[in-house]
């Protein structure tokens, strides 16, 4: 194979050399004329600095400020007129002495080319559901993450920030939840899998989202969640461009949990105990002393820990190149001060891209490096919300100077200010990406490309605290230091052969290739605690021990060495993960009207045993450009209409662990797996996982039909898609029958289906100097669990209480993956008599402990008892439809844009109300408890406070379920670009200033902090235990190009 290629290339080199030799002498013999001319664009505006060259010579000049030029040339010369960003024209003079040249804009002339997997394609030939992103839009959001800037721009793509801390990532979902594992799409950056966080939005040349199976199938087993293809900017031949962008952004808290003040706190707790004691006089509980004492303390813990955030971003790039080589270098620095004390994030991101061509070779290389340093709050936000307003921050009587809830008789909670003060931790990450590829034009129609890519992430984490106490139940008696590190690396080798030829009206593109991926991971950590264990034999001959301080000459020393003499601990492991893939694609089009595409990919993964290792993932797609047909009215309002249909299968195995295919013996020298004999540790080993699970690929079957359209001279463009995705052999962590005694394994069970309609429309027009663009997209999602391991199986979401208790949502057959199954409520009992008369047909009380002010739960199945069987399906956290509206306009130098979006038809389970509105134990509460039922406040839906909640008012019920629909102004921006005539004198090409605001308003009926939040597991969709305040930010920025 390779020898064959070598021969081809040699021939080619010889041929080229011959041509060069022949060309040189031709231009030497001629007479001359004086040529004048003007160069403009198609709108008639003169182009300054356009290059005019007599073909085959070095004779040339540049146009002046009016676009005119004068040059002495040979009368039969051919002139080459070029200008950056315009299509180069050649004009044979044939004796003319004056020429007028109107250059066409690059983009007007060329058909739009779209990057697809392992190649590019004319947009008109596309058969898959692919959405391209206007990259200019991307640069508008004040963010370092392009995924965040993508929010609301594409139908069927759901983007949410995962937590609001500085440095938090973004979660992206394409076309609903398809897997119980990760639902994040595959990102291909400049041809290789990558991490979108590592790309600066300003560096992006183009971004394509492959939504259906046919488009993504070429990535086979890694593309089940869709693919986002990003191409970064490169220089163009011609002038060197220098860009400088900067912004400063201020973040404020727009919405937080509204907690009780000291007086409300005391009265709520007191009412809680009074109500209890009235109901259970024989088991009186003492009303805590703090309910009646007056200490004058009223701490607003959120106020103390929150501040105004500030982020700064500076981005600099240089791009340029010649005929044979182009380059781009960029650098970005961002500094983020989060809204919580102790939250800071910083990043530096440098990227270099090169392209060189010589003879038949094309060489591409990319190198990027990103460094991040992040400090996350060293206290638990839940503790902050949980802390009583009666707890002061400081207490001189305490050893460490900070007040302790436990010593004051208040409900246990950490003093978060003490945690903030004493603890320190830092995470640093170093991301390296490097790749190089060599392409060979074997013939006009045959191209071979081989490439190598390396990705590495180095992570370092350090943590330290001296001895201190923030919670009397959990004192830190000794200083502690920890350092942990991991290194993750991935190497990819691709070989791709492309064939591209037209035979008359037949056009054929074909590709075959292979890809090998090897991933390795190593982690280790070491910790030291400033104590030593002294062993001794006690009076009875038993081994006993005692801990004493050791090491740490100064408790504030942070290194591992500072703990020498103390107790060390360490851990570390590794894994290897390999994949091999073979793939091919054929595209055929007839007369540019009838389009056909077929792909197949075969993937092998080391996550499976040898029997089930390989998966084959085919796809086919057809397209019909109806508007190219003769019968299609040419003068109608529709200019462009294309029909597409596709089917494809995609694989997924990311829910699996690296060695899940084999049952492993786990060692343990602790409670969970070891024991004690003869007074000494007895290390244990056992298999915690089931043998013989026969794991295989999870596959997603996707079908898509759609239309692309252009109307009113292509002022209105867009597409409509309908899709059905069905995932089979789902890899689910199956909650085994606990009587099996195993860890819950991942098994291939069940089916899940998503279907929906997506509509994208974009109206673009220009009225004199007023240019505007309105984009609207709309998508529906219907998610259904079609089948689970067995009829009636229910997969629980994460419980709000200790993860396993108070479980509001389950995945069950016939309903969405996260369906809320809750008790129904029917108002509040207004009197004890009313509560007592709530009986079943045998006259037994349905709610035996209910009193006035308690919730009337419904015996839905009418079996005379209220139990788990009365829980009813109450909706899902997955929105029925989502819509977004984007508007941008410019007039002369001014521009304005805004972006709105919303989701509708879903429910949210307000977990924070369960935590802070239950009024059953003396923790902190939401201020809404002021509206709790009492004999004097009966028109309310919040039940009475009662200690220990005898009626179970806070059980999983629709009490905490709310409508999740919202509409939000995500961003608005106003900018001004200085006029060119002014800038020219300063040698500046472009200068724009802008101000923008993010999250300016939200219309919603939801009572929580923010109706839009992401959850770690799809089973938890819509369960709001998200306790990060909702933020609003204001940005000022400048964009400068030389």
């Amino acid at each position: 194979m390779s020898k064959l290629k070598k021969n081809f290339s040699l021939q080619r080199v010889l041929l080229l050399a011959l041509l060069f030799v022949c060309l040189v002498p031709l231009s030497a013999l001629a007479q001359t004329i004086q040529l004048t001319g003007t160069v403009t664009d198609t709108k008639g505006e003169s182009l300054i600095g356009a290059s005019v060259l007599e073909k085959g010579t070095t004779n040339g000049c540049i146009t002046d400020i009016e676009g005119n030029f004068t040059l002495t040339v040979s009368p039969n010369a051919t002139m080459i007129i070029s200008y950056v960003g315009y299509v180069t024209q050649e004009i044979a003079l044939n004796g003319q002495k004056n020429i007028k040249v109107a250059l066409k804009d690059d983009s007007e002339m060329l058909e739009e080319v779209v990057v697809i997997g392992y190649g590019t394609m004319k947009k008109s030939d596309m058969t898959g559901a692919i959405s391209s992103v206007d990259t200019e839009e991307l640069t508008k959001r004040a963010t370092t993450n392009p995924a965040e800037a993508l929010q609301g721009k594409i139908a069927g793509v759901n983007i949410m920030k995962s937590g609001g801390n500085a440095g938090a990532g973004v979660s992206v979902k394409i076309r609903g939840v398809k897997s119980f594992g990760s639902n994040e799409p595959l990102y291909i950056i400049d041809g290789f899998p990558g991490d979108i966080d590592n790309v600066n939005p300003q560096d992006i040349q183009s971004m394509e989202v492959l939504k259906d199976g046919a488009a993504a199938a070429i990535y086979g087993s890694v593309a089940a969640n869709g693919v986002v293809i990003i191409t970064t900017k490169n220089g163009k031949k011609g002038e060197t461009h220098i860009d400088f962008n900067t912004y400063v952004s201020m973040t404020t808290v727009a919405n937080k949990l509204d907690m009780v003040n000291a007086e409300q706190y005391k009265s709520t707790i007191k009412a809680m105990f009074d109500n209890y004691n009235a109901q259970y006089p024989e088991e009186m509980e003492t009303v805590p002393a703090y309910c009646t004492s007056n200490t004058g303390v009223n701490t607003d813990w959120q106020d103390l820990m929150l501040r105004t955030g500030l982020s700064q971003n500076y981005m600099f790039s240089v791009r340029g190149g010649s005929e044979t080589a182009q380059y781009s270098v960029s650098y970005n620095h961002a500094d983020d001060k989060g809204i919580f004390l102790g939250n800071n994030f910083r990043q530096d991101n440098a990227r270099m891209k090169m392209h060189m061509s010589k003879y038949i070779f094309d060489v591409d290389a990319n190198l990027s490096f990103r460094y991040t340093k992040s400090h996350q709050p060293q206290y638990n936000l839940r503790e902050m919300y949980h802390s009583s307003p009666l707890m002061p921050v400081f207490d001189e009587n305490e050893k460490y100077g900070y007040a302790l809830a436990g010593s004051m008789g208040l409900p246990a909670a950490n003093n978060v200010m003490a945690d903030h003060h004493f603890r320190q931790a830092e995470t640093k990450k170093f991301y390296t990406n490097a790749n190089v590829s060599v392409g060979m034009k074997i013939t006009d129609y045959l191209n071979f490309k081989t490439s190598y890519a390396y990705r590495g992430t180095h992570y370092r984490y350090t943590q330290h605290y001296p001895d201190y106490t923030s919670n009397s139940q959990n004192p830190h008696l000794y200083p502690y230091s920890y350092e942990g590190t991991y290194y993750w690396e991935e190497q990819v080798i691709d070989n791709v052969l492309n064939f591209n030829k037209e035979f008359g009206k037949h056009s054929v593109t074909a590709m075959v290739g292979s890809s090998i991926t090897a991933t390795k991971y190593t982690d280790n950590g070491v910790g030291v605690e400033g104590k030593a264990t002294q062993y001794y034999v006690d009076g009875n001959g038993n081994l006993a021990s005692k801990d004493e301080p050791a090491g740490f000459l100064d408790p504030n020393f942070t290194t591992i060495d500072s703990g020498i003499g103390g107790t060390f601990s360490g851990d570390g492991t590794q894994y290897k993960y390999n994949r091999a893939s073979f793939f091919g694609r054929v595209n055929y089009s007839y007369a540019g009207k009838y389009l056909f595409q077929a792909t197949v990919r075969r993937d092998g993964s080391s996550k499976f045993g040898s029997d089930n290792r390989w998966g084959t993932f085919p796809s086919v797609a057809v397209g019909w450009r109806i508007s190219e047909e003769d019968f299609f009215p040419k003068e109608g309002f529709v200019n462009n209409l294309k029909f597409r249909a596709s089917w494809g299968r995609l694989g997924n195995e990311n829910a699996l662990g690296y060695y899940d295919f084999q049952p492993l013996i786990s060692n343990s020298n602790r409670w969970e797996g070891g024991y004690v004999q003869g007074g000494n540790a007895w290390q244990g080993s056992a298999s915690w996982e089931m043998e013989n699970r026969g794991l295989k690929w999870e596959t997603t079957d996707t079908k898509n039909i759609g239309f692309d359209y252009g109307m009113f001279d292509n002022r209105l463009t867009g597409s409509i898609n309908y899709y059905i995705n069905q995932t089979e052999d789902l890899l689910i962590t199956k909650r085994l029958s606990p009587s099996a005694g195993y860890e819950n394994p991942i098994l291939n069970v069940g089916k899940i289906r998503n279907n929906g309609v997506e509509l994208e429309m974009n109206w673009s027009d220009k009225v004199k100097d007023f240019e505007y663009n309105i984009g609207f997209n709309f998508s529906t999602t219907k998610n259904e669990v079609v089948e689970l391991a067995s009829k009636g199986q229910a997969l629980p979401s994460t419980g709000l209480l200790y993860d396993t208790d108070h479980v509001p949502a389950y995945a069950k057959e016939g309903k969405p993956i996260s369906g809320f199954y809750l008790y129904r409520t029917d108002g509040i009992f207004q009197s004890d008599a009313e509560a007592a008369s709530y009986v079943n047909k045998d006259g037994e009380r349905l709610l035996p402990n209910a009193k006035a002010g308690d919730i009337r739960f419904v015996d839905l199945n009418g079996d005379g008892v209220i139990d788990e069987n009365d829980k009813d399906y109450c909706g899902t956290g997955i929105p029925k439809f989502e819509a977004n509206l984007n508007f941008s306009a410019s007039y002369k130098g001014f521009d304005l844009s805004f972006s709105m979006g919303g989701a509708f038809g879903h429910k949210l389970y307000n977990g924070n109300r369960y935590f802070y509105e239950s009024m059953s134990a003396p923790g902190n509460h939401l201020s809404s408890v002021a509206n709790a039922w009492s004999p004097t406040n009966t028109h309310t839906d919040i039940p009475r406070p009662v200690y220990n909640d005898p009626n179970g008012n806070s059980r999983e019920s629709e009490r905490f379920l709310e409508n999740g629909s919202f509409w939000r102004l995500r961003q608005a921006q106003i900018g001004y670009t200085l006029p060119k005539s002014l800038l020219k004198k300063l040698y500046i090409e472009k200068l724009r200033f802008y101000v923008s605001g993010d999250n300016l308003f939200t219309i919603t009926g939801y009572n929580g902090v923010d109706p839009e939040f992401s959850t770690s597991s799809p089973l938890n969709s819509g369960i709001d235990r998200y306790i990060y305040p909702f933020t609003r930010s204001y940005t000022v920025g400048a964009q400068l190009t030389f």
Partner: protein, 504 residues
């Protein structure tokens, strides 16, 4: 062209073959079940994991699962001021629990995990090649695994009315779902397992102290028969005599007295001559070992710097004090002092009996608190705790024997046993009364004051049919709360249960 295709297919075949090697990875630090069980060493290691499930998890979990599940629903305790913050615990205390209650779900899950590991021993130990293990040791390990499998099933049968019997090592997904067995079948299985356990050695060498012995197997066998005698009245006499045979076979143990007794509960007298089976803890933390607990903090009252989770209630205090100060030393039953701190001249005699303090210096009012499972010195409160938890004591064997004999119509044979216990443990004079009923009443009294925090009370009350009498005013409903419901986790995951499943 043909040739090309031929070459191409050979090339790709070669690529696929080398791919197979490339795609074969193995864990860098774990072995697989297939190549693990080579010798006695591995069998012993798996046995450790079998016992480990007695802990119910980590340093906190033992206390937070064991006492809420086993103690809170009985009539001897008040919940402490911290315990009431945990809804799942109060639900058990007040009988408002549903089958979703996590505490008894963990309890259930851990027992079955122990059973699964015991099944691994029973599956693989017979396959260990002869050069790796002696036949005697092989048989001993099998007997030990049978005992533990029987013990865990016994605990299940004591807490759930019907259970799933897990009598084989599960390797097939199809075997995961199994229905409940009726109670008689469950009991028969438990008894066969415990019988197999009686082949264990009578004593353990010092290095193996704490592991099951023949005595432990006989004691639990006796307990199982005694409980069955009440449940299956048609076979009462058969089960009583089987119980007696088993209890009589518990030899080589004796009662301890005075400080030796309280020291069984504070880490100073572990695995002593009265101890038959104990949950083992250790301070050994070499090589990352972790076998400590915080049970001392869990049990200790708030006034003593503990977390205040569980306290003796009035009923229990009355039981301790009701015979009055008639002991040979002129005080109450010695077991009261060995179990409780309360407002009494004994604890306020000016000698600082509670860690150097008087009761009144620590407690502002009379608030009885447990002495059991609290340390001897204040210093130890801040330390990790290595106390063992006695699971079966010889005194229990003796009291069960007395109960069997009395029920067989021989109160006169029961009385000397009771009197021995009263003398040695309580410094108390012989009991009064001699009828079968009086002896039964005396046994009930002795069991209440012997076993606080030792988890037997619920099983005693049910055996004697006294649950309603003692607990109905707290929410107990006969027929509904005698056993826990099968946990929701099981219901949701195991369709073979034929149990109701929430469906709409």
């Amino acid at each position: 062209m043909k040739k090309l295709i031929y070459i191409a297919s050979i090339c790709s075949a070669m690529m696929f073959t080398s791919c197979e090697d490339f795609l074969t990875v193995s864990s860098p630090d774990k072995v697989t079940t297939g190549n693990f069980w080579k010798s006695q060493k591995e069998a012993e290691a798996t046995m450790a994991s079998v016992y480990a499930q007695l802990y119910h998890g980590d340093s906190y979990a033992t206390s937070e699962v064991r006492w809420p599940v086993e103690a809170f629903r009985t009539d001897l305790y008040n919940m402490g001021t911290d315990a009431i913050n945990y809804q799942t615990w109060t639900d058990i205390y007040k009988f408002t629990y549903t089958n979703g209650n996590t505490q008894f779900s963990y309890y259930y899950q851990d027992l079955y995990r122990g059973i699964n590991f015991a099944n691994q021993v029973l599956e693989y130990v017979p396959q260990i090649p002869a050069e790796g293990i002696s036949e005697a040791k092989r048989n001993e390990l099998l007997a030990e695994a049978h005992f533990m499998r029987g013990y865990y099933h016994l605990m299940l049968v004591l807490n759930w009315k019907e259970i799933i019997i897990r009598d084989k090592y599960l390797t097939d997904v199809a075997d995961l779902n199994k229905p409940l067995s009726d109670r008689v079948t469950c009991w028969n299985f438990v008894i066969e397992e415990l019988k197999a356990g009686t082949a264990l050695p009578a004593t353990r060498p010092g290095t193996e102290l704490g592991r099951a012995t023949a005595g432990a197997a006989q004691a639990y066998l006796g307990f199982a028969y005694l409980t069955r005698a009440y449940e299956e009245s048609s076979k009462e006499s058969e089960f009583l005599s089987n119980a007696l045979t088993a209890l009589n076979a518990v030899n080589g143990y004796s009662l301890v007295s005075g400080d030796k007794l309280i020291d069984m509960f504070n880490g100073r007298n572990k695995n002593c001559e009265e101890s038959i089976f104990e949950l083992q803890y250790s301070s050994d933390n070499s090589n990352g070992a972790r076998y400590y607990s915080w049970m001392h903090n869990f049990i200790a009252a708030g006034e003593m710097g503990g977390w205040d989770e569980i306290l003796p209630n009035e009923f229990l205090m009355n039981e301790f004090l009701k015979e009055g100060k008639i002991s040979t030393t002129g005080g109450y039953d010695e077991r009261a002092y060995n179990t409780i701190f309360w407002k009494d001249e004994y604890w306020n005699d000016g000698t600082g009996k509670i860690w150097g303090y008087e009761y009144d210096e620590l407690f502002s009012k009379n608030r009885p608190a447990f002495r059991r499972f609290t340390p001897r010195t204040l210093d130890e409160m801040g330390e990790r705790c290595n106390f063992n938890i006695p699971l079966m004591r010889y005194v229990n064997v003796l009291l069960m024997k007395a109960e069997v004999l009395n029920k067989q119509g021989h109160p006169e044979q029961a009385i000397p046993i009771i009197n021995d216990i009263r003398r040695i443990h309580g410094n108390m004079p012989p009991m009064t009364g001699s009828t079968q009923a009086e002896v039964q009443t005396q046994i009930e009294h002795e069991r209440i004051i012997e076993f606080p925090l030792e988890s037997y009370r619920w099983y005693d009350l049910r055996r004697w049919g006294k649950l309603s009498q003692q607990l109905s005013q707290r929410g107990f409903v006969e027929g509904k709360h005698n056993f826990f419901p099968i946990p929701l986790w099981e219901v949701n995951a195991n369709p073979a249960l034929n149990n109701t499943v929430t469906e709409e």
